[in-house]
């Protein structure tokens, strides 16, 4: 059952990720990206990380992607023409990266089968309870959490300054 879910979500994630980078129309890419994000949320859920899965759908697929869609519609972008290819070097780089990826995935799968050994046993339902996660967030990782608030302030100020039309 879980294996089947993994295969479905995994394939959906890969296929839609490839669609994100291959569509010409940014709107279509954005929709494909939403599919990727939701499949990844599904993967989080089958791993037992339910809280993160919920966040992934609400924050990522919800809020962030709405921002993207909003900007795409605001700018009313036309199709991105491929035209004559000027970035040959990048293409080659991309191919090299793809080959490296095959190697990397090989290593991971081998490692997954062997080196990591069995996971420490535990009941997954209680493992990712929101209580534990948030207590960690507000004790051990409080510092990082507070710094994030500054980060959001900077993002607000920056985005307003840059996107404001009247100078």
């Amino acid at each position: 059952m879980v294996t089947a879910a993994f295969i479905i979500f995994g394939l959906a994630a890969i296929v839609s990720a490839i669609m994100v980078i291959s569509f010409r129309n940014p709107m279509a890419s954005a929709i494909a990206l939403i599919v990727t994000l939701c499949s990844i949320a599904g993967l989080f859920a089958i791993m037992g990380a339910t809280f993160v899965a919920a966040l992934q759908v609400i924050v990522y697929a919800g809020a962030i992607m709405v921002l993207f869609l909003f900007v795409i519609m605001l700018l009313n972008l036309k199709r991105d023409e491929f035209g004559p290819e000027k970035r040959k070097i990048q293409r080659t780089l991309g191919i090299i990266l793809g080959l490296l990826l095959v190697l990397e995935v090989g290593i991971f799968i081998q490692a997954g089968l062997g080196d990591f050994g069995p996971s420490p046993a535990g009941d997954k339902g209680s493992f990712t309870s929101i209580t534990e996660l948030s207590s960690l967030l507000f004790t051990k990782y409080l510092f990082a959490f507070e710094v994030t608030s500054l980060l959001l302030l900077v993002a607000i100020v920056g985005a307003v300054i840059l996107a404001k039309k009247k100078l």
């Binding site: 890419s29 809280f51 990397e104």
Partner: protein, 101 residues
């Protein structure tokens, strides 16, 4: 986990690399930003997979904050794109060739 950890990591690596390739080959700045989101998601998937495997929650806290950072980055990035579009009616990075890319 009934599915071995390595498969999750492999999947994350694939998504990450698709993102990297997108950043390298695409010229539309918005799609490049989306590819960066793919890269972040690859990293997030790795973090959660390890976190569940190790039964150690800090990986998930990490993902939580990465989402916040991604939102901030997307906001500023899109603001820059809007600004550029106002200046020159295009979001293609190859059209931005006052300076060499």
């Amino acid at each position: 986990m009934p599915v071995p950890l390595g498969y999750y990591l492999g999947l994350a690596a694939i998504i990450f690399t698709v993102g990297v390739i997108g950043v390298l080959v695409r010229r539309n700045a918005i799609i490049i930003l989306m590819s960066i989101e793919l890269m972040l998601n690859g990293a997030n998937l790795t973090l959660v997979a390890f976190s569940v495997h190790l039964q150690e929650l800090s990986g998930q806290v990490f993902v939580f904050l990465v989402m916040t950072v991604a939102a901030a980055e997307a906001a500023v990035g899109l603001a820059i794109i809007v600004m550029i579009f106002r200046n020159r009616e295009s979001v293609n990075v190859d059209n931005l060739n006052i300076m060499k890319w």
